[in-house]
């Protein structure tokens, strides 16, 4: 096993642990109070209505249109609809950038499939399946490199020239765009050198088998791989993981309109939270530095009976 393989494993390990920790952190935060924002697709009311529009809504069985959530979210993720509708000048660059990323990830998946079947001796030259995976790798990855490069360049220019963005853009934001831009550009050059992705597939195979890398790798390919390895490990520590907020902020915040109807799970959480100690220091809170709980302070009216009513 070579140095590049070890780096790739380490990078993957960092990614899995850090990204997993991030998901766990948000998933285990307390249930918050409701903070929904309409329209909520599962309400099934295209004008943005909710169950509150119905008389005695708590007596009725709720019908959630779960498919509506997917009808909203799939185009949102794939085409960045919100940006398309509300910030088109940025969408022109953000869309190819993101679509480039998605396509490259797709290409990587098919490269992995190709490497897997190659372990069993199925190569594009002797297997229709392996040949299909090779073609799909190309079909996804190459447009991905091109779109990603266009998007990254466009975003760099946009963030340098648009007065709305210059004041909020930091050095690190340019670094991230350049990093990804280089990943796309070097990936494209690698493809020009190796149109069948044979070396890449061989490297992937070596990762799957923990074996040696049999094919020689060009210098630019090594550079491309190092850029990728570094980015994979770095990514979970950055706000570029905004797919996390995209899931939680929609599914668990904006669309969480589940009313409290005495569900046992919700009840036990609320009971637990009411026992949390409070240390807010303002006088009117009267937390006594953590001696009082939420139940204590919320059920105390410090002003009751102090003045004549």
């Amino acid at each position: 096993m070579g140095f590049l393989q070890i780096l790739t494993y380490l990078s993957g390990l960092v990614f899995v642990i850090a990204f997993g920790a991030k998901l766990l952190k948000y998933a285990t935060m307390p249930m918050h109070v409701r903070w929904e924002l309409y329209p909520i697709p599962h309400e099934g009311k295209e004008w943005g209505g909710s169950f509150y529009e119905e008389i005695d809504h708590w007596k009725k069985v709720r019908h959630k249109d779960h498919m509506a959530q997917y009808r909203f979210m799939v185009p949102e993720i794939l085409f960045i609809r919100a940006l398309h509708e509300d910030n088109k000048p940025l969408w022109y660059w953000s869309f190819p950038f993101h679509m480039g990323l998605y396509l490259c990830i797709g290409g990587l998946v098919f490269l992995g499939f190709g490497a897997f079947v190659q372990i069993f001796g199925m190569v594009p030259e002797n297997s229709a399946l392996a040949s299909l995976f090779q073609s799909l790798t190309t079909v996804f990855a190459v447009p991905g490199y091109i779109l990603g490069t266009i998007g990254a360049l466009g975003l760099i220019v946009k963030r340098t020239t648009d007065s709305n963005l210059t004041d909020v853009t930091a050095g690190i934001d340019f670094m991230n765009l350049i990093w990804l831009g280089l990943l796309f550009v070097t990936g494209f050059i690698v493809w020009l050198q190796d149109p069948g992705f044979n070396v890449s597939r061989a490297f992937f195979q070596s990762l799957l088998t923990f074996g040696p890398m049999k094919e020689p790798m060009s210098a630019i390919h090594v550079v491309n791989l190092l850029i990728f390895i570094g980015f994979w490990a770095y990514f979970p520590f950055t706000p570029m993981t905004h797919m996390v907020s995209k899931y939680f902020m929609w599914d668990k915040v904006k669309w969480d309109d589940n009313p409290n109807r005495g569900d046992a799970g919700m009840d036990s959480k609320i009971k637990k939270y009411l026992t949390y100690p409070v240390t807010w220091a303002a006088v009117h809170i009267d937390s006594q530095g953590g001696k009082k709980t939420w139940a204590d302070i919320a059920t105390t009216n410090p002003w009751d009976n102090k003045e004549q009513k």
Binding site: M31, V33, Y38, S50, D86, F248, N260, T279, T299
Partner: protein
């Protein structure tokens, strides 16, 4: 302007100039705006105003460097607490997600009416105050936060100027959450403003005086943020009964503290003082429809407002739990919330997870119940009695934040002749705030009233004027229906400041007043337009 510049040692960061403001439609396209009244010299010496020359909080300046240092430390301590589950389980998850994930795309800026109306002043961008807080948290509270802080984009100085400006800036956003509805990654900068207000109030005791001392404290002390005591409320109700008799020729008994009634109706107590026609109209409608309801005269029970919603979770919980306790003691089946948008959201949505389910009691919007009354046919309406153009304001709290969009429209369509109702653009869940949201409608300290007039209310005034373009002749009376007390207050102030009724014939009212005006059984017009009655204080 970069968010880091908030720490700059300068007399004033930004000046609002009339020529920068977004233009108003006809007949105000050539209107000469009055600029914001500068604070007097003695006020400037006393109060912090270095953000934009406006003081909403009348925040006193620290007298010594030691006091400044203590306040800076208190701020950081509060920020830390904001990010713990024990102190902030109520909003921790959406706060932390919004703190971490801004993509810096500025999509939210164009959705913000204050930013647009101000002439696109950077300090009013939804991201500006949120970014300041993000940068402080990263630099001062995260491990290694000071390493390469400039390159990483959070090299901000934390000094008293930063904090004083941030405190004022927390009160330049109406919490309408229009910004959150367009964010491609789901970030809620409105929530960050809300949390910032909580930090100031819950840790440092800093809040808008009208929403704290004169608001939620008065509510818990006297029973109402208006100062109306429990002893006074029964007398006021009796006056309303007299007025109803005068207007309708019929004596209606408004039930008080009726045990076992179907409904506890809670009004925003501001209605009793400023717009008594509103609770009167509810009483007339409920009587005519045979609704079994009661009002409460118990402490807090006759005022639906809950100002804690805008700035303090503890004050919020104290009031909300009192509302629920009163309803349970009366043994009612449900609470119906009058025409008050923030009370809708406070009691129906935010308070929903404060107690285990068995201790809760169903809450319903009056819009929904009123629509049900119309659909039931129990009351006969004659739409020709409302034969004037009307538009509808959507209170953010009840519409974008609760999804009550159709009932009020169905009511209007039933009580107006065809073609008289015109929507504002945009409307429904994409509406614009009246400009008085998050407490602004009742805040008038310092020279904040001028800021509301010029900036926060400007977009709504534009929408109202646009809704009636082509019929601006003041002899054509036109109505804005605003089914929310605070929105009504803000719209009243805007219409009066700009003399809109005199120049265009546009006035405002609530939903129930329009319903009673259209009742077949109502012999005299219920609505009063300005000038029709010398005692009118509508």
């Amino acid at each position: 302007m970069r968010p880091e510049e908030i720490s700059k040692k300068t007399e004033q960061l930004v000046t609002i100039k009339p020529e920068d403001l977004s233009p108003l439609p006809f007949p105000y396209d050539t209107y000469e705006e009055t600029p914001i009244t500068p604070l007097k010299e003695e006020q400037k010496k006393k109060w912090e105003h270095s953000l934009d020359g406006v003081s909403a909080l009348t925040l006193p300046k620290p007298e010594t460097p030691e006091e400044e240092e203590r306040l800076v430390k208190a701020f950081l301590s509060g920020l830390e607490k904001l990010m713990t589950k024990e102190n902030n389980w109520t909003f921790l998850q959406p706060l932390m997600l919004s703190m971490e994930y801004c993509a810096k795309c500025q999509t939210c800026a164009d959705a913000c009416p204050a930013f647009e109306a101000s002439g696109r002043k950077d300090i009013y961008r939804p991201t500006f105050r949120a970014d300041v807080l993000r940068k402080i948290a990263k630099k001062y509270l995260s491990k290694g936060g000071k390493i390469l802080a400039g390159f990483r984009g959070h090299d901000i100085d934390l000094n008293w100027d930063t904090i004083a400006r941030l405190a004022e800036l927390a009160y330049r956003c109406t919490l309408c959450r229009r910004c959150a509805s367009v964010c491609p990654v789901g970030v809620d900068n409105g929530l960050i403003t809300h949390e910032l207000r909580k930090l100031f109030s819950q840790e440092m005791g800093i809040a808008g005086p009208e929403i704290h001392e004169k608001g939620s404290v008065k509510h818990l002390k006297f029973g109402s943020s208006t100062g109306m005591t429990t002893a006074a409320v029964a007398d006021i109700i009796e006056y309303l009964e007299d007025d109803i008799e005068e207007k309708t020729g019929k004596r209606i008994k408004i039930p008080l503290n009726k045990k076992g009634a179907e409904i506890l109706l809670i009004h925003n107590a501001g209605e009793f003082m400023a717009w008594p026609e509103n609770p009167m109209a509810f009483a007339i409608l409920f009587d005519a429809a045979g609704i079994d309801y009661t009002l409460s005269t118990d402490l807090v029970g006759y005022d639906a407002v809950n100002y804690g919603l805008w700035y303090d979770d503890v004050q919020f919980a104290r009031v909300a739990l009192k509302h629920i306790e009163i309803a349970r003691n009366l043994g009612v089946k449900k609470i119906v919330i009058g025409e008050c948008g923030h009370a809708h959201k406070a009691l129906s949505v935010i308070a929903d997870r404060l107690l285990p389910g068995a201790q809760m009691i169903p809450r319903e919007s009056s819009y929904t119940l009123l629509n049900d009354i119309v659909k039931s046919g129990k009351i006969k309406f004659d739409p020709t009695k409302n034969d004037f153009p009307v538009t509808l304001h959507d209170p953010c709290n009840a519409v974008r934040l609760m999804g009550i969009v159709k009932p009020q429209r169905e009511v209007i369509n039933a009580i107006f002749p065809p073609g008289r109702f015109r929507e504002m653009e945009p409307h429904g869940v994409k509406n614009y705030c009246c400009g008085g949201g998050s407490g602004f409608a009742i805040m008038s300290s310092g020279n904040f009233t001028d800021w509301k007039r010029l900036v926060s209310g400007r977009k709504k005034l534009t929408q109202i004027l646009n809704a009636f373009q082509g019929e601006m002749d003041p002899s054509i009376k036109k109505m804005v229906c605003a089914p929310c007390s605070n929105c009504k207050g803000q719209i009243r102030d805007m219409l009066e400041s700009y003399e809109v009724y005199e120049k265009t014939g546009i006035w405002y009212t609530g939903l129930v007043e329009l319903m009673v005006n259209a009742m077949v059984d109502q012999e005299k017009p219920f609505l009063e337009w300005p000038g029709e009655d010398d005692d009118d204080d509508m």
